[in-house]
Structure formats: structure tokens, C-alpha cells
């Protein structure tokens, strides 16, 4: 039974876990009844470490009222106040304290966003500390062991009222014109970044949205961390693909990567190409591809635009991982192929056209109408059409037989119309080639029909032979009986019995012959 490793369950949430092994979910029809049967739980909070002996917060004077000399000190004190954590699972506990903290956070956000000269060096460690204390926590296990990101509502973070302000503060802090990367890098270090990345697994999409923007700014400003961030993202993806198949933040990380890929310098570094081949392409095999496919496709296309030589790797990779049983994925793959073809260089196209169009032909003959439609719709794309036209001699033979066959057999009339369009397009491109292929197709069909006829004839012949044999046997039995009766009655013997008249070839025993004639049957062979 394969279950994903989860952190220890929160003491506040009851455990009615009957974890359904992930292998059983293979058929793609999630058992909603099971989910409903569970107890409804309140939103969980991930603050495990909140202090039991609660520090009482006293409201401090407002920042905007503070004289300049005391401003930084007050700022610091407020930051320290915000390091106190509150329990949001209990809605009525510490309402006063929560409000004080919320107001303080709000002020801090305002201050960083609007005033200049607020961020001085001593504030950096305090600010980072406050942020760390608030956001870094072990994420709670998913309320729903079968959480399907596409269908289920995510479990939202209970302490969001404070958390959101902390994130907002962090973001403004990073974006402030006074922000000094050289100072920040002492505190925003690799350890910090690693913990930040782990938070991307949060189920709360609002949190991931903030994290995405924050990490984007961190990557942009703290150059020294870039390689480390890339490597850690790699690790996350690889773990996701090959080990856990669970990570909620793939789409957000891919979005960040998109903006990074977009900014790659040319010539493309080997490290980046390896990333494409070993991480991005295999990412297409994930079960939950639909969540992040748009971002993934964007990354792939960006790579192509940067360096056309990676095209072949991409297309061959996609063909290798082409979905065989999941049609929803197939439609996504086809969409991605179209996007790729939209930007492909003609010289690269030629290198991949054969295996590519073989796959497209296979898609056209898919009984799932959406797959066939999507594949046929390629011919509506002008640029793709021009590529096909330049290489008509190679491509038309690959798809011709499929097109003809499917036009006669497919159940869906829309598909049949689309096929007509495609055939007509080919006909206009190069009539002679088309006619030649039609002729050879007909010849093939004739041969096939001839083979069918011959096979039918053969079977018929065998059956007739069988009938004749049966007839012979029954006749022989009848004659034998007549002879016996005559013999008993004393009649003169009749001329030679028909038993000996027939072929000497060994013939299969005929079952069902009556016992009195079995002797006669055997003597005839």
C-alpha cells in the first residue's frame, strides 16, 4: 500500500483516516461518496508551536504619530510584537491580542510601502526574523487524503488574516526602493530560501500566489542565490515526478521559471538544456498535468524560442511520453504540439516531421472525438499548413491511408467533415501525389478484399468437405444396417457396399456417429 509520507497529524484534528492507496484511483473516477462520508472538519491551522503561555500584547503608539528619532525603535518593537503567534483554530481566543497584531502588521505594511528611509540596517534581521517566525511552519497534512486539485476545494489556511499581512509586508520590503540586496543577503540565505520553497506545497492558493511573487523578487534581486534556487526547484520537481507525485506548487514554480527562461542569455548554458531534458519533459508524465500544463507549455515554448536546436529533444521527448490511455492528456499534448509548431523553424521541422505525423495520424484515428478533432484542427493553422505544404511529399503518404479509412468508419460527423477539409487541402496542394496515393490505396484495398474472399472460400470449402464426409458416413451406416437386416431375413447379398468406394486419406474422426456405425466408419478409412 503506497501512501505519501506526511508530517505528524495535528493534535486538534481527529483522525478518521482510511487512506485509500493511490493505486486504486487509477480508473480516474474518484469515489465522491467516500469523501462525503468523512466528518466535516474545521479549517486547520498550521501553527503547531504556538506558545501556551501567551504573551500579552500591549498596544503601542502609531508609527505615523511617532517622532523621527523614535521611529526606528518603534518599528523594531512592533516587529517583535508580531513575532507572537496566535491560535486561529479557536475563533474566540485572544481576540484582543489578534487585533493588536493585525493592526501592527497593517501599520508595518503601510510604512514600508509608503515612507522612505525606514529600512535601515538594524531592521533587516528583525524583519526577517518576524517573517520567518510567522510563515515557516510544518504544513499540516491534507484534510482530504485523496485531494484532487482539479476537483476539490482546497483547505485554506486558518491564520490567513495575519499570514496575509506578513506576506504583504515581505513583498513590500523586497520591492522597496530602499531595499539593499547586499544587506539582505546576510539574512535571506540558502536556509531561508529552502524553507520558503517548501511552503509552495501549501494547499492555500492565496499563499502560493504570494510565495510566487516573493520568490520571483528574491531571485531577481539576490543574484547569489540564483543557482541554489534553481537547483532546489529541480529537486522539488524530480521528487515530484519520480517519488511522491504530490506537490501543490508546481504551477507557481513553473511560472517563475517561465520568467527566468525568458531571460536566459545566449548561447544557452548546458545546465539549462539539461534541465529541459531531464526535468521539464518528464514533468509531462505527471498525473495531475492539467493543473500546470499551461505554464509548462509556456516554459517549453520559451526554450524553443531561445535556442532552436532543442526542438528535436522536445518533440522526441513528448512523443516518447505520449499518453496512451488518458485522452484528456492527449488533447493537452496536442495543444502543446500546436504551440510548438507555431514557433518551430522549418529546418527543425524537417528533422521531426516523420515521427510527429505518424503520431498525428494515430490521433486522427482515435475513437475519442476530441482527440481526433484536435489533431485535424492543425490543418486550420496557416503556419503549420505552410510547413506541411513545403514537405508535402513526405507528410501526405504518412496520413493518407488513415484519413481515408477514418472518413469511412468514424461515428462522429464533425470528424468526417474535418477529414474532408484536410483531404481537400492536400488535393489542392499537389493533385498528382494525391492521385497516386489514391490509386495505390485502392490497389491495397483490392488486395485485401481478395485475401478476404480467398479466406472465405477456404472456409467454405472446408465446411463443404465436412458436410460431404458426414453424408458419406450416414449413408455407410444406413447401408450397413440394410445389409444386416437382409442378412437376418436371408435376402441375397447386394452388390459391393459403398463403404469401400471412398478416399483412402486419413480423415478426422467425426464425433456424434452412432455406435452401430462406428465400426463401419472405421473400416472405411
Amino acid at each position: 500500500m503506497e501512501t505519501t509520507k506526511l508530517p505528524p497529524t495535528s493534535p486538534s484534528s481527529p483522525t478518521t483516516s482510511f487512506s485509500v492507496p493511490s493505486a486504486e484511483k487509477v480508473d480516474g473516477f474518484p469515489r465522491r461518496s467516500m469523501r462525503r462520508a468523512r466528518q466535516r472538519r474545521s479549517h486547520s491551522s498550521s501553527q503547531f508551536r504556538y506558545q501556551s503561555s501567551q504573551v500579552e500584547l500591549t498596544p503601542l503608539p502609531l508609527l505615523k504619530d511617532a517622532p523621527v528619532a523614535e521611529l526606528h525603535d518603534l518599528f523594531c518593537k512592533k516587529l517583535q510584537q508580531c513575532c507572537v503567534l496566535f491560535d486561529f483554530l479557536d475563533c474566540v481566543a485572544d481576540l484582543k491580542g489578534k487585533e493588536i497584531k493585525r493592526a501592527a502588521l497593517n501599520e508595518l505594511v503601510e510604512s514600508v510601502a509608503t515612507s522612505r528611509g525606514v529600512l535601515i540596517e538594524p531592521l533587516y534581521p528583525e524583519a526577517i526574523k518576524m517573517i520567518s517566525v510567522n510563515i515557516f511552519r510544518t504544513l499540516p497534512p491534507s484534510e482530504n487524503p485523496e485531494f484532487d486539485p482539479e476537483e476539490d476545494e482546497p483547505t485554506l489556511e486558518a491564520s490567513w488574516p495575519h499570514l496575509q499581512l506578513v506576506y504583504e509586508f515581505f513583498l513590500r520590503f523586497l520591492e522597496s526602493p530602499d531595499f539593499q540586496p547586499s544587506m539582505a543577503k546576510r539574512y535571506v540565505d540558502q536556509k531561508f530560501v529552502l524553507q520558503l520553497l517548501e511552503l509552495f506545497d501549501s494547499e492555500d492558493p492565496r499563499e502560493r500566489e504570494y510565495l510566487k511573487t516573493i520568490l520571483h523578487r528574491v531571485y531577481g534581486k539576490l543574484l547569489g542565490l540564483r543557482a541554489y534556487i534553481r537547483k532546489q526547484i529541480n529537486n522539488i520537481f524530480l521528487r515530484f515526478i519520480y517519488e511522491t507525485e504530490h506537490f501543490n506548487g508546481v504551477a507557481e514554480l513553473l511560472e517563475i521559471l517561465g520568467s527566468i527562461i525568458n531571460g536566459f542569455a545566449l548561447p544557452l548554458k548546458a545546465e539549462h538544456k539539461q534541465f529541459l531534458v531531464r526535468v521539464l519533459i518528464p514533468l509531462h508524465t505527471a498525473k495531475s498535468l492539467s493543473i500546470f500544463h499551461a505554464q509548462l507549455a509556456y516554459c517549453v515554448v520559451q526554450f524553443m524560442e531561445k535556442d532552436a536546436t532543442v526542438t528535436e529533444y522536445i518533440i522526441r521527448g513528448l512523443l516518447k511520453y505520449w499518453p496512451k490511455t488518458c485522452t484528456q492528456k492527449e488533447v493537452m499534448f496536442l495543444g502543446e504540439i500546436e504551440e510548438i509548431l507555431d514557433v518551430i523553424e522549418p529546418s527543425q521541422f524537417i528533422r521531426v516531421q516523420e515521427p510527429l505525423f505518424k503520431q498525428i495520424a494515430a490521433c486522427i484515428s482515435s475513437p475519442h472525438f476530441q482527440v481526433a478533432e484536435r489533431a485535424l484542427y492543425f490543418w486550420n493553422n496557416e503556419y503549420i499548413l505552410s510547413l506541411i505544404e513545403e514537405n508535402c511529399q513526405v507528410i501526405l503518404p504518412l496520413v493518407f491511408a488513415t484519413l481515408y479509412r477514418v472518413s469511412k468508419e468514424h461515428w462522429n460527423q464533425t470528424i468526417v467533415s474535418l477529414i474532408y477539409n484536410v483531404l481537400k487541402t492536400f488535393m489542392e496542394m499537389n493533385s498528382k501525389l494525391f492521385d497516386d496515393l489514391t490509386a495505390s490505396y485502392k490497389v491495397e484495398k483490392q488486395k485485401e478484399m481478395k485475401r478476404e474472399r480467398e479466406r472465405a472460400d477456404l472456409w467454405r470449402g472446408l465446411e463443404e468437405h465436412q458436410d460431404r464426409r458426414m453424408q458419406m458416413v450416414t449413408e455407410a451406416a444406413r447401408n450397413q444396417r440394410n445389409l444386416q437386416e437382409r442378412g437376418e431375413r436371408g435376402d441375397p447379398p447386394t452388390p459391393s457396399s459403398p463403404q469401400t468406394a471412398h478416399s483412402d486419406q486419413p480423415e478426422p474422426k467425426i464425433s456424434g456417429a452412432s455406435s452401430s456405425s462406428s465400426g463401419a466408419g472405421e473400416s472405411a478409412t
Binding site: 505554464q295 511529399q393 468526417v416 489542392e428
Partner: protein, 334 residues
């Protein structure tokens, strides 16, 4: 059929063919018309005939059906002036009439299908009415003697005379070439017997068979076709066929066809273009050297010496670096 009977049949058809020729004045009128909304032009007619060929091919009708349909169409157009917007209806009716004559009942495509696949704007009842009109105007002479009739006869004659010869004329190929010619209105002015003979001679010259050439002369003399006439049409046929056989692919007219997809597919078609929200982060060449961490230093030196063989698994420094990095791994926040 023996040679004598074939020749006799040839003669009979030759005498009859004039009845099925479209009026030359009518055809000339069409040829001379420039692109206009009120009159059919040659280009218009040619495009429609190509459409008919697509439909014939798609529904598996024989070349005979196609040739007959074109014949009916040309005879009608040469006689009656119609507006271009009705051309579609007229041509599909001709095709349907020809199919009824030539094809077996079970192979006939229903008119609804013809209209749907051909993306026509008219209805089944429109089609029926038009069929009646066309039939009436052509005096119900639906079966016609066409170039294909002669082509078949010539082919049979050629075969019967040269059964011991290695070179065989491919009837399929001749039919395809005839079809290519019929897509141009100028060839409808030719007498079917002459057109067919021109095609035959082209093909014979292609396979370089002296004996076949002899047979072709024989036919020409038998039907009393003049050299001049034959030469004239042979030249035109040669030009047409060289266009047809050229390996260049022409750009198809994309606008004419409607591409209809199901609602679900249409919804997903453009949901793909993701507009990136996050601004681009340019990669600087100074990225790695600015860092203090040893991991970056290892990375940058590794990249310079990298011979990226993307095929080898875990051979490149990327993976081994990660494994070597174990000791630098930060403890996870507990």
C-alpha cells in the same frame, strides 16, 4: 471483345459524340467572362469542378461519375446563363444525377451528406428541384458519351493488340490525367474522341512504345481525325499535364473551407496562450561568480568544462554535483 467489334463500337460512339458536346458558343462566353458577380467565369467553373472531384474522391465514386457530372454541368452552363451563387447547387445536382446513373444504389451517398460535406448553403429540396431543372434542360439525356468512353475503348484496343508486350498502359493513370484536364474549361471544347486520343498518345510517347504508337495511328485513321486537330489538342494536353505532374506544391486556398469543431474542443483551443504575469528576469553572466556559496562555484566551473551529452543519464555534472552536495544540505526546518 475482339478487335473488330471494338473498332465497330468505336465508330458508333464517334458518330454519336456530337450530341453530347456542350455548345461551343456557350463555353466561349464563359471563358471570356471576367470575374463578376453576375456571370459565371472560367475560374469559377474550374474551382467548382475541382470541388466536384474532391467530393467524388471522398465518397468513393468512380471516375465515370465525375466525367459524366462535368459533362452535364458544361452542357447546362453552355446553354443556360446562371448566377454564380447558384453554381454550387447546379454542380452538386449534376454530380448526384451522374452518380444515380453510374453507381450502384447501395453506394449512393445520401443528398444530405453531399450537402453537409460539401459545406453547401442550400437544402435537400433545393437540390431535388435543381436536378429536375437540369434534367429537363438537357432533354433527359443523362447518359453521355464522354472522353472516358473513348479512353476505355482505346485502352481495350491497345491491350488486345499487344497482349504479349511488356509495357502496359495504365488505365488508372489515364483516367487521372483526364480528370486533370477536365478541371479546365478549355478542354470541354474538344471532341471527346480527340481528347482521349491526345491523352493516349501522350502516355504512349511516355512509355516509348513503337507498337502502341502504331495502334494509335490506326485508331486515328479509322476515325478520320485530322492531324491538325490532334496536334492542337495534344499540345494543350501536354501543357496541362506538365503542370499537373510538377512536384511543386501549390498553396491551397485556405479561406474557402469551414472548420467546425465541437464546443468542448473550441473552448480549449485558445485557453492555452498563457500571458505571463511575472516580468522577465534577465540572466547575467556575472550571476554565478557573485555568490559566496561553494555550490555556485562548483556549478560555474562545472558548466565551463561541460560537454553536454544530453542523452547520457546522470553522466553530466548536474546530477553528480547534487549527490556530492550532501554534506552541504541544510537541515530541514523541523
Amino acid at each position: 471483345m475482339d478487335a473488330f467489334k471494338l473498332m465497330k463500337e468505336l465508330r458508333v460512339n464517334y458518330e454519336q459524340e456530337a450530341h453530347y458536346l456542350p455548345k461551343e458558343t456557350g463555353l466561349s462566353l464563359i471563358e471570356s467572362t471576367t470575374e463578376d458577380d453576375s456571370r459565371i467565369s472560367a475560374k469559377c467553373r474550374d474551382a467548382k469542378v475541382e470541388d466536384l472531384w474532391s467530393l467524388t474522391s471522398f465518397f468513393g465514386y468512380s471516375t465515370q461519375t465525375f466525367v459524366l457530372a462535368v459533362n452535364l454541368l458544361d452542357r447546362f452552363l453552355a446553354m443556360i446563363r446562371i448566377q454564380p451563387k447558384h453554381l454550387s447547387c447546379v454542380s452538386v445536382s449534376c454530380l448526384h444525377m451522374a452518380a444515380k446513373v453510374t453507381e450502384e444504389e447501395c453506394n449512393l451517398a445520401p443528398t444530405g451528406d453531399l450537402i453537409r460535406i460539401g459545406q453547401c448553403r442550400f437544402t435537400v429540396s433545393d437540390l431535388c428541384r435543381m436536378e429536375k431543372i437540369v434534367a429537363e434542360k438537357l432533354n433527359f439525356k443523362s447518359k453521355a458519351i464522354t472522353a472516358l468512353t473513348f479512353l476505355h475503348l482505346y485502352h481495350q484496343i491497345a491491350l488486345s493488340h499487344s497482349t504479349d508486350r511488356k509495357e502496359k498502359l495504365s488505365l488508372e493513370k489515364l483516367e487521372a490525367q483526364l480528370k486533370a484536364c477536365l478541371c479546365r474549361i478549355s478542354f470541354s471544347k474538344a471532341k471527346p474522341s480527340v481528347l482521349a486520343l491526345s491523352l493516349l498518345r501522350q502516355e504512349i510517347e511516355g512509355v516509348r512504345s513503337e507498337d502502341m504508337l502504331e495502334i494509335a495511328y490506326h485508331i486515328q485513321r479509322h476515325l478520320k481525325i485530322t492531324d491538325g486537330e490532334l496536334l492542337l489538342w495534344s499540345e494543350r494536353v501536354a501543357r496541362c499535364l506538365s503542370d499537373y505532374a510538377s512536384p511543386e506544391c501549390s498553396k491551397p486556398n485556405h479561406k474557402k473551407l469551414q472548420w467546425i469543431v465541437s464546443r468542448r474542443t473550441a473552448q480549449n483551443l485558445h485557453s492555452y496562450r498563457v500571458v505571463p504575469e511575472l516580468p522577465t528576469i534577465p540572466e547575467g553572466c556575472w550571476d554565478e561568480s557573485e555568490s559566496e556559496d561553494s555550490c555556485e562555484d562548483m556549478m560555474s566551473s562545472g558548466e565551463e568544462s561541460l560537454s553536454s551529452s544530453l542523452g547520457s543519464d546522470a553522466e553530466g555534472p548536474f546530477f553528480p554535483l547534487h549527490l556530492r552536495r550532501q554534506k552541504h544540505r541544510q537541515p530541514l526546518h523541523a
